[in-house]
């Protein structure tokens, strides 16, 4: 799934390390769930962040601490959390930990129970209430 090779990742080792720490701050490991800094998950996050290189690098340059990043750098936080969520919540271990099927939706799909349409009975009793106007041009 991860297609960038490490030499193409546009962040320095130091920047990567800080991003990895931040990933773990955002979603820490908690048995059986891995943390978002897990190397496989983090590789996917980096791939998304590579598309926002300028914002990421500028933010890391000006930040002294990784605490309070959501209030100090909201634009970055938005991009970062989207990237982390995208990589984290498609990981097999995470899906298993949540008890979700580890498969693509197609071709199996899902069985949805039949609806008991008697739920609609109160609405069926209602008279038509849309404004019944303008069926012909100029006829109101």
């Amino acid at each position: 799934m991860v297609t960038l090779i490490s030499s193409e990742i546009p962040f320095s080792p130091d920047q990567r390390q800080r991003l990895q720490e931040l990933s773990d701050l955002m979603i820490p490991a908690s048995e059986p769930m891995p943390g978002a800094g897990d190397s496989e998950i983090f590789a996917g996050t980096l791939e998304t962040l590579a598309r926002h290189q300028e914002l990421v690098v500028q933010t890391l340059d000006r930040l002294e601490s990784l605490e309070d990043i959501q209030s100090v750098a909201p634009d970055f936080a938005q991009v970062f959390q989207t990237a982390v969520a995208t990589s984290y919540y498609r990981d097999d271990r995470v899906l298993e930990g949540l008890g979700l099927p580890v498969r693509a939706p197609y071709p199996e799909g899902h069985e949805v129970d039949k609806t008991d349409w008697s739920l609609l009975d109160p609405v069926r009793k209602r008279e038509p209430f849309y404004r019944n106007v303008g069926w012909d041009t100029g006829d109101d």
Binding site: I27, Y89, V94, L98, P107
Partner: protein
């Protein structure tokens, strides 16, 4: 390079272009459609793979998707971010197939409520074309909805699932209207399409082919009936003769080579951002401000629908990610004008099913429901598959300052100027959004939500662009006449929602396809004197 002249050239193979091409085959004219994108193969769709929630190449925003056939849209000056798809099927490849029609009152907003403008046609004029379009697309639902005019021929409804039933109970508690959404989804085998498997994420394309995207509805039939569809052909400009008639286009092919295509009639179906972009890019000595723009209205009156998105968290699993995400139930309780609410016109409440874990986490963090740090896992378990969302699709009124222009810097991959949108929410829309957010909160609470997040109205996305070459009888206040022909260029037509005069409070595709069929019908009826004054 010059190609043989055709009778009719359609630009854009999306929702409206497909309907137009299919309908015009009755004339046995030589019809060519140029589409800048490709065909999408069912095996390409994300739901075939494990990374189904994280494929940027199927994102709604062209600025994220960044395929070579996309054109970027500068949307920095708009609280609503446009989404689309550029390929055979256009936006219907990614749409959610929620398929309401405009209401009769939508065509009369000026007369009835003193806002917007009246359309030069009525619901009654479009009714046969709504029905014809439903027969081609296949629409699921239950007849008898008291909130909308009667219709026939519906396929069995999409089941509500636990989520839909839960929210429906909330509406019943409040005695508010709701009804299962009409959905352009084959719930049983229909015209060669197999039935819906409840994959869930319709908005990244339907691998099963149950969703009515026009690449699998209109196009196979139109091609069988003789239409030529040429893909990876991006029209750069529409060219004109000395007498002011359009004589064809210049397009850039897949190899980046400019080609000339002559035509007797040109029909633009590029959607309400792509269409004005093309007209504004088509300047000449005769039309220095862009083609068909003597009114100055090309690109103006852009409507996107104001949207209020409210999420409620419940204390039980809702199985929300199972089933078509955008098609569950709708409410028309607040659709028609009631001035006691403090605004004119109204909105549809559309109940969305839940999404997969990636989208749920993204949305949870964006709305503050899902924290960073220690509490993250527990909070995710509490919210995932326990969240129901309501999107209120609010009618926004036509305002000239909301517009599409050409961006001075941004271009597509062929160097053609891209679109820029400038859009502000009007006073009426803001009041409506506030009202909608409060009502959505109320119904989610009535349905038993344990927590309702604050309504989001900014940064939301919309695939509902409308109004940028509006129709009307007066050439000074509209771009095309009451049957879709340009006032200025007598062999130039528009087929898409650029023609809309107002936006209604519903998703636009059913109505824009009906309108396209209506324009096609007018062309067919007037062939002998199509270009007369």
């Amino acid at each position: 390079m010059t190609n043989d002249i055709v009778d009719v050239l359609i630009i854009g193979a999306g929702a409206s272009g497909a309907a137009m091409a299919w309908s015009l085959t009755d004339t046995r004219m030589k019809i060519l459609c140029l589409e800048q994108g490709d065909w999408v193969k069912p095996t390409d769709y994300p739901t075939n793979g494990r990374d189904w929630e994280s494929r940027p190449d199927f994102a709604g925003s062209p600025n994220v998707r960044c395929r070579p056939e996309d054109y970027p849209i500068n949307d920095a000056n708009s609280p609503i971010k446009p989404v689309n798809f550029n390929g055979v099927g256009g936006g219907t490849v990614l749409y959610m197939a929620h398929f309401p029609r405009f209401h009769p009152s939508d065509f009369r907003t000026k007369t009835l409520d003193g806002v917007g403008e009246d359309w030069p046609l009525s619901y009654g004029d479009l009714e046969p074309f709504f029905a014809e379009n439903d027969r081609m697309m296949g629409v699921a639902g239950i007849p008898g909805d008291p909130g909308v005019p009667a219709k026939e021929g519906l396929l069995p409804p999409v089941p509500l699932g636990v989520l839909g039933e839960t929210v429906a109970n909330g509406f019943n508690q409040l005695d508010w209207h709701w009804w299962p959404s009409e959905s352009a989804i084959a719930t049983e085998a229909f015209r060669g399409r197999d039935k819906c498997l409840n994959l869930g994420p319709c908005a990244t394309g339907c691998a099963q082919g149950a969703k009515a995207s026009t690449d699998i509805t209109y196009w196979p039939e139109a091609i069988r009936r003789g239409v030529e569809l040429r893909t990876r052909c991006r029209v750069r400009e529409i060219t004109v003769r000395a007498d002011g008639f359009a004589d064809g286009v210049i397009y850039v092919d897949a190899d980046g080579i400019a080609q000339r295509q002559k035509a007797e009639v040109v029909i633009v179906a590029g959607n309400a951002i792509g269409t004005p972009r093309l007209l504004l890019n088509s300047t000449s000595n005769l039309f220095p401000d862009g083609l068909a723009n003597s009114s100055g209205l090309v690109g103006r009156n852009l409507m996107l629908h104001a949207m209020a998105l409210t999420q409620g968290v419940f204390d039980k699993p809702l199985k929300g990610y199972q089933g078509p995400i955008g098609c569950s139930l709708w409410s028309k309780e607040f659709y028609e004008t009631d001035l006691r609410r403090g605004f004119a016109r109204g909105y549809t409440m559309e109940i969305l099913r839940g999404s997969g874990p990636v989208a749920a986490a993204q949305m949870g963090m964006a709305t503050g429901v899902l924290p960073w740090g220690e509490g993250h896992h527990e909070a995710f378990r509490q919210m995932f598959d326990r969240t129901a969302a309501i999107c209120a699709v609010c009618e926004d009124l036509p305002e000239e300052h909301n517009r599409v222009t050409l961006d001075p810097e941004l271009t597509d991959s062929d160097g053609i100027p891209a679109a820029r949108i400038d859009y502000q929410l009007g006073d009426n829309s803001q009041k409506m959004l506030r009202h909608a957010g409060e009502r959505c909160t109320e119904v989610l609470n009535a349905a038993g939500a344990v927590f309702v997040a604050p309504t989001i109205t900014s940064g939301v996305v919309s695939g509902h662009a409308m109004g940028t070459t509006r129709m009307g009888r007066d050439a000074s206040s509209s771009v095309v006449n009451e049957w879709g022909r340009s006032h200025d260029v007598k062999n130039l037509f528009i087929a898409d929602s650029s023609m809309f005069v107002t936006s209604g409070g519903v998703n636009p595709t059913s109505t824009l396809q009906a309108l396209s069929l209506y324009v096609a019908d007018n062309i067919k009826a007037r062939l002998a004197n199509l270009f007369d004054d």
